[in-house]
Amino acid sequence: MPHRRSSAQHSQVRPLFEYAIVRRAFLDAFAKLDPRVQLRNPVMFVVAVGALLTTAFWLRDFFTHGGAVGFDFAIAAWLWFTVLFANFAEAVAEGRGKAQAEHLRRTKSDTIARRRTPDGAIEEISASRLRRGDVVVVDAGEIVPGDGDIVEGAATIDESAITGESAPVVREAGGDRSAVTGGTRVLSDSIVVRIATNPGESFLDRMIALVEGAQRQKTPNEIALSILLSALTIVFVLVVATLSPFLSFTGTHASTVVLVALLVCLIPTTIGGLLSAIGIAGMDRVMQRNVLATSGRAVEASGDVDTLLLDKTGTITLGNRQASEILVAPGCDAEAARLAALLSSLSDETPEGRSLITLARSLLGEASENIPEGSTFVPFSAYTRMSGVDLPDGRKIRKGAPDSVVTWCKEFGPGRNPLAGEVERVARRGETPLLLAVDGEIVALIALKDILKPMMSERFARLRAMGIRTVMITGDNPLTAAAIAKEAGVDDFLAEATPEAKMNLIKREQSAGRLVAMTGDGTNDAPALAQADVGVAMNSGTQAAKEAANMIDLDSDPTKLIEVVEIGKQLLMTRGALTTFSIANDVAKYFAILPALFISSYPAMAALNIMHLATPQSAILSAIIFNALIIIALIPLAIRGVRYEPRGAAVALRTNVLIYGLGGVIVPFVGIKAIDLLLQALHLAG
């Protein structure tokens, strides 16, 4: 079967602010003023209540002609903007997620399923009504109505609607390639599929729910962070609420509007307003890489991964090997043997076959053109484990696994293998030996070599820099495995791996306190996938594997795990960075508002006005405006995530503390002063 390798080229890179998304988000920002939506976010709920309160005070002053009407209006307006900006951030992230989901959902548009009833009759029903256990028949040209396993037949399937990969794939009943995904198209043959999910429970459905705010479950870390933000909000509510009696004790009066303004400035609105956008955008980034996650928890956990188990074949090496050598048996004509090798592979469409053709042609030169007319090609079959050609002159050429070829030779005679020693030597070297025989006589040995995927050692170095250990899993013997592991640059390997050995390895790592991630596709991978903390199933794998995993890679690219790990880390870093930034901002806001608040009772406190803001009103207004605008300014960061580079924790921490901690202290001083100057220039504040 053709091995598909794909990667980032299929992921859609969406511009940050797409017109349609922004327009929709603009409207959604208002729709999200619904108190039920606001209640989901305690920090922003406090801002919304504050906005209502200041609006009420403004209206009162407006009709009674008392107080500072213009100032109250400005504060009320900016508080509403603060709420709307936060809503807008969430709506933009949701819009991007939805656009991505739409792209996937288009493949789910309602199709007609032909369900087989228990008595064998076929009835047509809507695909959306299919339930787990239903059996449907899908013919060539039809769309698979839902996720499931093939129970009868085999077919070529076009999965491009989901993966973007145009090469069709073969799926057949039984074995590890029996799973089909709803929305893909059957190209040839007819299959019978047992549906594996109920309506609304497919992976796609779950993934769509993860990026749509309404149904989104907060992830564990997000909840923990929300608790921190709520606690800070409670502290600041206490601080501001008790300030009023303290001020009156010292003979000052502060208007409720000013106190609300102070409260909103202090509570962590920056991170509070962007928190859900960060989470949604993280899921969206995962989905853009064609990975379906069953939960946000899984993506978060992938950031914590300590050990990564990677299958050798298909992940570290190209799934196919390349012919590296043709060893001619003693006493045989070298040119004839090479020509036989070439002829045996002409019908072989596998990359191994093609690589042998290339090798033979380069060895033969001119002589490679002598292909007899009228040859009959014998395709590879799993039964014979050989392929070859029957020439018009009656000669039969076969190529295949050594034991199969020897068995075939025995039909002609003694079946002596003059290359038995060579076969063993090649195997020990970490390569795969094939034998080539003509009419029962072994003429040559072909060595197939594992070819490392390009850039793999760089990727492993990157993982090492992040603190993640890579372990290669292979069925090869330890010698071969060691040779390949060394060449690929993985940290460790598990040779002669059986599913049990794999499972034990995971358990051992876990009991040593490590978080393990792995990829898998076969049914026998399912227990290990379920045991691993992060399991990524290949979309080409079985339904059992997919059920056991917490993520599915639609491109069936095992190295994708590395990107998911990076997204998981980036997600947490973005939250931490913006929380630090948000809290650090408060220092400057205090220096803006406190002098403004106290100056009437203690003129000497003007010394605390280190920014030299023009007037108390201007100081408070500048702080509130900065507080609102910073949310908008940070939307791109929330959606893209902070810049991620693989490096040790110590360096990452230092860098981020400098940028977001120190930066968080300094930026608002500059910003508030600038807004104050602008307000003065425009004569907007008293």
Partner: protein
């Protein structure tokens, strides 16, 4: 500021640094049940106590049982002292024939000593009998400190456990803390104090004629023994009202230095014990470093403010620093050092009048209390208070390295954050709300000695000190029923609503699997972490208290410099 002043501070700090490791290792041995040099003498006594109390040494307790035992013990101790104070007039060892205490004052005093606060609304030498002092207050001086150490050890066990469901035995920890740690050091200190001239007797007060012709009452009593545990257990409740400013409690510069050192000693050494229990002494030194930096900053500001003196007096031609309310035998440096140590820890003993400090000097004292007494802190409570900040710092900073935050390999998740924040919320709640109530009702302002920001500072300081279980006061605030009851409640919450969430946190962490540290895990013993920890403590503290401090000492400071006093 003078070189000798700084040298004195350096001497104390050097001694503290030298003692932290040996005492920390000793406590590690004591609390992990290893034999120590004192075991031959004390082990039989320990065994006898367990037999008497029916305690099994290996009776491991879940965090719930541990907490329950701690609360039950505290409740009984509280009622014991409460009743003792109510009936002291009928009991022996009362040569001055002091009457029974009023219920309000008895409640406040009993809570105060139970919680290791030692807030004193009474004057010891004119209110309490020798029996109340020795059998009542001194008992609490030992066991409240012992309870603090036990809680700290249990919390550390939870954090450092491989995977456990228990935190140790409260009774064993309490017994060992008192028997192996507090008693021997106190005994040694008391002997030195007697040699330095602190009284230790049961004789009635003597009234003598002075040279100048007046009459003076010279107090007596078992002071040296009380003095030792007052400082060592960060209790701070003086035998006499003037506390360590009195020549009876703190006669010489040597006793002053020893008292400062003993105030800081256990709090500092416990950081090393923590490191040992974590299997990585760097962890302990990181906390020690963060505490030291905050201590030196505090001392520097306080010393500077006091040494700079009062600008109003400078205008009148009076040179020098602020000596008002200070003892000339200690000087400015000796006073600043003592009071920085006493407010940074939850001791609360004073050798000078905080009320007479410069506004900024007083601000340092107040900020020390507001930060949650984590700069060496109270015995035990300083460590677990610091660990609460460590959990919060690890959570915020840990996110920035892109992993679920971990402390010593234990993941800090929802429940841990919740519990750390619960403990964290107690301080703003118990300081700001009662202060607001006090300024709103007549009873809250009736006993104020000063008006304006200084008067405000007095109320604020009272609740801040009560919540922090410190016990020092901006004198000038008198007691009445409102303050007796309200500060009592605040002390209770400040102690137990801090300790219970942390024990729960320890219980939750104990059950977690330990994750191995890799390159992706950030180190909690690095300089970066120490800086972050200090930053978190300062920023979080500042954000909560800057407005009130601005209305109190900061306003006081600016007004003083513009020529107004209160």
């Amino acid at each position: 500021m003078s070189l000798t002043g700084w040298l004195q501070a350096a001497l104390v700090f050097g001694a503290l640094l030298a003692l932290t490791k040996p005492l920390g290792s000793y406590m590690f041995a004591v609390f992990t049940g290893r034999r120590t040099r004192l075991s031959p003498v004390l082990a039989p006594v320990e065994a006898a106590i367990y037999r008497l109390g029916g305690v099994g040494v290996d009776d491991e307790m879940s965090w719930q049982r541990y907490t329950f035992a701690m609360l039950a013990f505290s409740a009984i101790s509280f009622f014991y002292l409460f009743v003792l104070l109510l009936v002291q007039g009928w009991l022996p060892l009362n040569p001055q024939h002091f009457p029974n205490l009023s219920p309000g004052l008895a409640w406040n005093t009993a809570i105060s000593f139970l919680t290791n606060t030692n807030w004193q609304f009474y004057a010891g030498e004119s209110t309490l009998s020798y029996l109340s002092q020795m059998a009542g207050l001194a008992w609490h001086n030992f066991v409240s400190a012992g309870v603090g150490i036990a809680i700290a050890i249990a919390v550390v066990r939870g954090i450092t456990a491989k995977t456990a469901t228990t935190l140790g035995s409260f009774w064993v920890d309490l017994t060992r803390a008192c028997l192996y740690v507090l008693l021997p050091i106190s005994a040694a200190l008391a002997i030195v104090y007697v040699a330095q001239g602190i009284p230790q007797n049961f004789t009635p007060y003597r009234t003598v004629a002075t040279i100048s012709g007046g009459r003076q009452t010279i107090t007596g009593g078992p002071m040296a023994s009380q003095e030792a545990i007052k400082d060592l257990g960060t209790n701070g409740g003086g035998f006499v009202n003037a506390n360590s400013a009195s020549p009876n409690e703190n006669p010489t510069p040597l006793t002053n230095v020893l008292e400062v050192l003993s105030i800081l000693l256990i709090g500092a050494s416990l950081t090393y014990t923590y490191g040992k229990m974590a299997g990585d002494t760097g962890q302990g030194w990181a906390l020690f470093a963060a505490m030291s930096v905050l201590f030196v900053i505090g001392f520097g500001v306080m010393y500077h403010a006091e040494a700079a003196g009062n600008p109003l007096l400078h205008h009148l031609g009076v040179r020098g620093g602020n000596m008002v309310g200070k003892e000339s035998r200690f000087g400015i440096a000796g006073s600043a050092l003592f009071d920085e140590a006493s407010t940074a820890t939850s001791c609360g003993a004073v050798n000078a009048m905080l009320d007479s400090f410069m506004p900024l000097g007083g601000l340092v004292a107040m900020v020390n209390l507001q930060l949650g007494e984590v700069v060496f802190g109270g015995v035990g409570s300083g460590l677990y208070g610091m660990l609460e900040f460590v959990v919060l710092t690890v959570f915020i900073a840990g996110l920035m390295v892109g992993r679920t935050p971990e402390l010593l390999g234990k993941k800090i998740e929802r429940r841990e954050v919740q519990l750390a924040l619960l403990a964290f919320l107690v301080t703003p709640l118990m300081v700001l709300v009662p202060t607001a109530i006090a300024v709103l009702i007549p009873a809250g302002t009736a006993t104020l000695g000063n008006s304006g920001p200084h008067g405000f500072s007095e109320i604020l300081y009272a609740f801040t000190s009560a919540n922090a279980n410190n016990g020092s006061a901006f004198a000038g605030l008198g007691d009445n029923r409102f303050f007796n009851i309200s500060t009592g409640i605040v002390m209770f919450f400040g102690r137990f609503f801090m300790a219970i969430p942390l024990l729960a946190l320890a219980g939750s962490l104990a059950e977690k699997k330990k994750v191995v540290a890799g390159r992706g895990t950030f180190s909690t013993s690095s300089t970066t972490f120490v800086v972050l920890l200090i930053g978190t403590i300062l920023i979080v503290g500042a954000l909560t208290f800057l407005p009130v401090d601005a209305l109190g000492p900061i306003a006081d400071h600016y007004l003083l410099h513009s020529g107004r006093t209160f």
